[in-house]
Symmetry: C2
Subunit: 461 residues, 2 copies
C-alpha cells in the first residue's frame, strides 16, 4: 500500500494547484445547448486534452456532428491489470436566470457556508466539471508519484446537458477502441455529506400509449348513452384493473425477474436515516401509495411500478357537454427492475388491454420506448472492491443506492459496449445542479480524488 | 260526433288555402340567433297574431328583452271543458350553408319525393312552423264550422332556436294568465310516416364534475412513482366502480324511483319495427353496451344511465412525459327517469367518490345542473284520450315514446306552471331539421291538423 499512501499524500499536498486547475475549467462557458457557446465548448474539451496529455495520456479532441468528444488513453506497465473507461461531461447547463446568482456563474470562487465548511461556487461545479476533475486529479497523483494502476481510457462528452445526440453514433463507430472491463461514471451523488454512495440500480422504462375507440363519431349521450359503449369507461376499467388492493401490478408475469434485495442491502436501506414522512410531506402527501409493506426508498429504488402519466377523452373544456366520446387515450409508464424483460411487459400489457376490450371497441397501441433496468450485480467483484475503497476513505459503508430515473449512457455502455458501470459520485442533494449558485463541496472534490485513487488501486489488486 | 266530422271535412276541403297560409309564414326569415333578422322575427310573430285574431282569439305580440312572444286566448262556450295551453315556436335555425339548398330556404315549395309522396321544403317546415300551423289550422276549422271544444291559450315563442333566454322570466311574470290544465306541445316526431307517437318521457339530467388532487405539484414519475398517489388511478377506479358487470349503475339508491314499464307499453316497444342492429351499425358499433337483458330503445327512452363525458389529467401532448400528475378530473352525466331525485343522486355520487378517496387525496365537486325526469303518467286521462284520437286518425296505435334528450320548456311548464305536457308531433327522422333542404311531409301537415281536431274534441268529451 506504499504506492497508494504516496498518491493520497500527493493529492493532499497539491490541493491548491488542483483547485486552480478546476477553476480554469469552470471559467469556460461550455453551455452545450446554445450554439453561441460552441467555441467555449471546444475550449473546454481542449483544456481537458491538454490536462490528459500532461499526464502522459494519448489524448485528442474528436469531432462529432455536435460538440467534440475528448478521448484519452493511458496504459499501466503491468499488462494484466483491469482496463477501465471513465466517463464524464464537460458541458454545462445555461446559467439563466443570471440575476439569481450571487456572483457571476463563470467566475468560480471558494467560500464558506459555515465556519470551516468550504464550497466551490460556479456553473458546472457539481455537474459535472468538479466531479470529472476528481478523477483527473487522481490520475495526476498516480502519474506524479509513479504509474497508473489500471489501463485507463477517458471519455468526456460535451453534449450531456442537451441529450447526448452525437454520443450513440460515436460509441458505435469506436466500439473496439472504447471497450473496457468496466465503466466508471462520476455523475451521481453521495447519500449525505459524510456517507458515500454507489448507484447500482437504474430502473428501466416501458412507455406505452393506448387509444380506445368505440363509435365512429362523438355521439349525444342523451340519444345513445346506455346503448353505446363509452371508451372512457373501458379505459378506466383497464387502469383500475392494473393494480390490486395491495398496490401490486396485476399484469401476468410482471414480477418475473424481480428479486428481493439481498438481506445486507435491505438492512442497509432500513438503517439509513431516511425520513419517509418528511420526504412525502415535501410534496404534500403523507401515506406511501405503492406496494403495501414496502418502504418508500425500496419502492423508488428497487421495485417496478406502473403509472398513468396522462389521460384524455371527450369534452374537457369549461362546463358540461353531453357527449358520448368516440375515443379515449392514456399514456402508461412501467418502471422496470432486475431482470424484467421490456418486451415481455409490453406483450403482457397489450394482452391485458385486449382482454378487457368490449366487442365494439378497437385499440391502438403506440410505443414511446422500452429499456431494461440496469443493475450492477451485488455479487460484482468490482463493486466489492469499490465498497472497500470508499469505506477506507470515508470511514463509512457506501450506500448501495438505486435511482428511479434513468442515465442513458449506462444503457449505451451495457448494450453497445457490453460493460457494466460503477457509478460513484460526490454530489449532494443541495448542490443546486441546473440552478443558480450551483456549488460543489470542497471535501467532495478533495476526498473524491482520494476515493478514485483508492478505487483504481483496489480494482488492480 | 257530427261536429268533429264537419271539422275534419273543413280541414280537407281547405287544404290549398291552409298550405298557402303556411307558405306565407315560411317565407318570413325569422332566424332568432342573428340580430339582423329581428324585424323578420317580429313579422312572423305578427303574422300569427293576425291569424289568431281572424279566428276570434284575443291575441297580441308581447315584448320580451329578446324576440316577442305571441299569446292568444279563446274560450269555448261550455265553461266546464278543459283548458289547454298550446306551445310552439315561430323562430327558425339559420339557413347556412346556403349553397347546399336545392332551392332558396325562404321560398317554400311543394314537391314530390316519389310519385304521390308530397313534401313541403323550406327552412322551418318541420321545426317548427309546419307543426305549429297544424294546431292553428285545426282551430280555424273549429271556428269555421262552429266553436272551440276547449278553452285554448296559445303560446308561440321566437327564441327556441337560441336557447329561449327570455321565456323563463316571461312565464314567471305571466303565471296566472298561462296556467292551464295541460300543455300541448307540437315539436316532436312520429315513429315513422304511418305511425303517430306521443312523447311521454323525457330523461332528467345530473351533471357533476370531479377534480381529484394528490401531490402539491406534478412530480417526476421516476423519482416518486410507486410512492406517491396517482390521481388518474384514483379517478379510474371510481369510474370503473360506477357500473357492475351487468351494466347497472352501482350508486346506492340509484334505482329508487325507477319503475318497470307497464306491460302494455313494454309490449308495444318490443313489437315496434326497430332494428337494433341497424341503429347501432349507423354509429359503427354492434353490441348494446348498457344494462344486460334490456333493449336499446328501452335503455335510451326509459332507463337511467351514467356516462363520463370527458376526462383529463397529466400529460396529453405527443409522445411521452414521465409525470406523476397532481390532479385529474372528469365530467359525469346521469340521465334520470321516473321519480329519481336529482339531489339524492348528487348526494349518493359525492359520497361514492369520497369513499374511494385515498387518505392523501382531496376532491372538488362542480355542479353543472340537476333536473328531474319528466313523465306524463301512463295512467293520465289526457294521454288515454289522445291515444284514442290518434288511433282514430292514423289507424295505428300511437307509440308512447321516450326521449333521451331534454326539452327545457316541458320542465318549465311542470315546475313553474304545475302542468304536465302532452307532446304530439308529426316530424319524421329524415325531415332534416336544422339542415339544408328541411322538409315536412304534406301528410304530416294535413293529418296533423286533423289529429289536433280529434285530440281537442277527445279532451273535451
Amino acid at each position: 500500500m506504499a504506492a497508494l499512501e504516496k498518491v493520497l499524500e500527493q493529492i493532499d499536498t497539491n490541493q491548491d494547484q488542483a483547485l486552480a486547475r478546476l477553476f480554469q475549467l469552470l471559467a469556460i462557458k461550455s453551455v452545450s445547448t446554445d450554439a453561441d457557446y460552441a467555441t467555449e465548448c471546444a475550449r473546454a474539451g481542449q483544456f481537458l486534452v491538454d490536462q490528459l496529455q500532461e499526464l502522459g495520456f494519448e489524448a485528442s479532441l474528436r469531432p462529432t456532428p455536435g460538440h467534440p468528444v475528448v478521448v484519452g488513453k493511458a496504459k499501466a506497465s503491468r499488462p494484466d491489470v483491469p482496463h477501465v473507461l471513465f466517463y464524464g461531461h464537460y458541458d454545462v447547463q445555461p446559467a439563466d436566470p443570471l440575476e439569481l446568482w450571487e456572483t457571476p456563474p463563470f467566475e468560480p470562487r471558494l467560500t464558506e457556508l459555515d465556519p470551516g465548511h468550504k464550497i466551490i461556487v460556479a456553473r458546472g461545479a457539481t455537474d459535472d466539471k468538479g466531479q470529472l476533475m476528481t478523477f483527473v486529479e487522481a490520475c495526476r497523483a498516480f502519474k506524479e508519484t509513479g504509474e497508473f494502476p489500471c489501463h485507463i481510457t477517458v471519455l468526456f462528452e460535451g453534449e450531456e446537458e442537451s441529450g447526448s445526440p452525437s454520443l450513440p453514433a460515436f460509441l458505435a463507430a469506436n466500439k473496439a477502441e472504447l471497450k473496457a472491463d468496466i465503466a466508471l461514471i462520476c455523475d451521481t451523488g453521495m447519500w449525505d455529506r459524510e456517507t458515500p454512495a454507489i448507484t447500482t440500480m437504474l430502473r428501466g422504462l416501458v412507455l406505452e400509449e393506448v387509444v380506445i375507440k368505440g363509435a365512429n363519431r362523438d355521439l349525444h349521450s342523451g340519444m345513445f348513452g346506455g346503448a353505446v359503449v363509452n371508451p372512457i369507461h373501458v379505459l378506466s376499467r383497464i387502469i383500475a384493473d392494473l393494480h390490486d388492493a395491495e398496490g401490486r401490478v396485476t399484469l401476468p408475469g410482471f414480477y418475473d425477474g424481480v428479486t428481493e434485495l439481498p438481506e445486507d442491502v435491505a438492512k442497509q436501506w432500513r438503517d439509513l436515516p431516511f425520513d419517509e414522512a418528511q420526504f412525502l410531506a415535501e410534496v404534500g402527501v403523507s401515506v406511501p401509495a405503492g406496494e403495501k409493506g414496502r418502504g418508500v426508498l425500496e419502492m423508488i429504488w428497487s421495485r417496478p411500478t406502473c403509472d398513468v402519466n396522462g389521460i384524455i377523452g371527450g369534452y374537457t373544456g369549461k362546463g358540461s357537454k353531453t357527449v358520448l366520446p368516440a375515443e379515449a387515450s392514456a399514456k402508461f409508464s412501467f418502471r422496470l427492475v432486475g431482470q424484467q424483460k421490456p418486451e415481455k411487459v409490453v406483450e403482457a400489457f397489450r394482452a391485458f388491454v385486449r382482454q378487457r376490450l368490449p366487442a365494439d371497441c378497437k385499440v391502438e397501441f403506440l410505443s414511446h420506448g422500452a429499456s431494461p433496468a440496469l443493475q450492477l450485480p451485488f455479487s460484482s467483484e468490482a463493486l466489492s472492491r469499490a465498497r472497500r475503497a470508499l469505506q477506507a476513505e470515508w470511514g463509512k459503508d457506501a450506500v448501495l443506492a438505486g435511482s428511479g430515473g434513468s442515465i442513458p449512457i449506462v444503457g449505451s455502455f451495457k448494450q453497445d459496449l457490453g460493460m457494466d458501470s460503477l457509478m460513484v459520485g460526490f454530489s449532494l442533494d443541495d448542490d443546486r445542479a441546473h440552478s443558480p449558485n450551483e456549488k460543489y463541496e470542497l471535501s467532495s472534490f478533495q476526498k473524491g480524488a482520494r476515493s478514485w485513487a483508492r478505487i483504481l488501486t483496489a480494482l488492480a489488486l
